[in-house]
């Protein structure tokens, strides 16, 4: 059974391309550049995995993360981020508690993270 993946990132070029590449690999992937639409889809489509850039305009990162978790219990959230800046730290977000990958990410690494394989996680 192919996993349903939601890609949420305000950079359209980025998230649509990622979604397309995942589709080519058999995933049911959808891309969203706006948080409200993404949450709407999460509510109805119940994804297995959410790839999330926390820097979405007009949304507090922590709120977005928690809302997704409430809407879809058991969902695997992977933070896909350009950098982890002060805002996130100020929110007291313990990033260690979420798998996260830094952009740009190699597709193999991303796939491993989606499948929950041990070689996923942050590259140092």
């Amino acid at each position: 059974v192919s996993k349903a993946v939601l890609v949420i990132d305000d950079e359209r070029e980025f998230c649509e391309t990622i979604a397309r590449r995942l589709q080519l690999r058999g995933y049911a992937a959808r891309a969203f550049t706006r948080a409200e639409e993404a949450l709407e889809s999460a509510r109805s489509a119940r994804p297995d995995v959410v790839l999330l850039d926390l820097k979405m305009p007009g949304v507090r990162p922590m709120e977005l993360l928690m809302t997704i978790r409430q809407l879809v219990p058991g969902v695997r959230v992977i933070l896909l981020t350009g950098h982890l800046d002060h805002e996130l730290r100020l929110e007291g977000l313990r990033l260690d508690s979420f798998p996260y990958l830094m952009k740009p990410v190699a597709i193999e690494r991303l796939l491993a993270a989606i499948e929950g394989l041990p070689e996923s996680g942050e590259d140092r």
Binding site: F14, I18, L24, H83, P104
Partner: protein
């Protein structure tokens, strides 16, 4: 009566000359009484004044010299801090478009892999491999800078500095072997255990030893020394017998992207990052070098990490 008058006149003349010399800033001049008791009080007062003036002036001169050194250090630190902010900002701005390039090239490769009927397909895939390799190269730089900027949380662990130095030599075994370099460790026994961020201290030492090995000629010597700098500070010095650093480069040594290594060998980030780390850990990093005399980098690490309020920039 003539005799004492002459002596007085002589004394007054000597005193006047001495005072003129004082007025010109000579605090070494002293006057003699020539054994005459009546001049003794004046001479003693003058000489005491001179001693006092000499001491005050020399301590002032020392203070001014220190002030100049401190001012220079401050300007240097501020320059590096603002450079650090700029560099981290640029790295962030470059990183997102880089991620898009990575995905576009990746998708192109995905599509080509499926199309096994396409002529010259192998050539296209090879070209995409070339794009990917360059993306990786840029990614190495942006991630290093962003990863470094991100590391604000320190993990304090006990550090046996001598053991760490030995481990660092182990990490660099291959680089050392290729250069046939002689890396000697001169480790002070019984050093106290430091409490600091292990990974970050290690990164600094790896950078310094690697630089030293790269600086020496084939078969050259590198000496790493550990010691107690004072009751609360450890010092590690990495000396190389390389060509030394010309004075005009010393000031730029810790700037990001400053490198004199061959293209592709260094990014010019090692010393910049090391400098930031040592500042963050409440320590310091300094250099002594002269052309033809080799180079010594000295790292000072407080035994107990204490919070540095100052923003290290990146």
């Amino acid at each position: 009566v003539a005799q004492p008058l002459t002596k007085r006149a002589e004394f007054l003349l000597a005193l006047t000359r001495a005072l003129e010399q004082v007025a010109e800033g000579d605090y070494t001049v002293r006057i003699e009484t020539g054994g005459e008791e009546e001049f003794e009080a004046v001479a003693a007062a003058f000489n005491a004044m001179q001693n006092r003036l000499r001491d005050t002036v020399s301590s002032l001169e020392l203070a001014v010299r220190n002030l100049h050194v401190k001012q220079r250090e401050l300007v240097e630190a501020e320059k590096l801090a603002s450079l650090g902010r700029v560099v981290a900002g640029v790295a962030h701005e470059i990183n997102n478009p880089l991620a898009v390039i990575n995905e576009k090239a990746g998708l192109l490769e995905d599509l080509l892999v499926i199309r096994d009927d396409l002529p010259s397909r192998g050539e296209y895939i090879a070209l995409i491999g070339g794009i990917n390799a360059q993306v990786d190269r840029c990614r190495g730089i942006t991630h290093r800078l962003l990863g470094y900027a991100r590391r604000v949380d320190l993990t304090l662990e006990p550090i046996d500095i001598n053991r760490m130095v030995e481990e660092v030599r182990g990490f660099l075994e291959q680089t050392i072997r290729e250069k046939q370099a002689a890396v000697r460790l001169d480790l002070a026994p019984g050093l106290p255990v430091a409490l600091s961020d292990r990974i970050q201290v290690e990164e600094v030492l790896v950078n310094l030893v690697k630089n030293a090995v790269q600086a020496v000629p084939h078969g050259g010597a590198v000496v790493v020394t550990t010691e107690l700098a004072d009751h609360s500070t450890l010092a590690v010095t990495v000396r190389d017998g390389g060509p030394g650093i010309p004075p005009e480069n010393i000031d730029r040594l810790f700037e990001p992207f400053f490198t004199t290594k061959e293209k592709g060998v260094g990014t010019g980030l090692g010393l910049f990052i090391s400098h930031g780390i040592m500042k963050r850990l409440g320590g310091s990093i300094s250099v002594q070098s002269a052309p033809g005399k080799g180079t010594a980098f000295r790292v000072e690490l407080p035994l107990r990490y204490c919070v540095v309020v100052e923003d290290p920039g990146v």
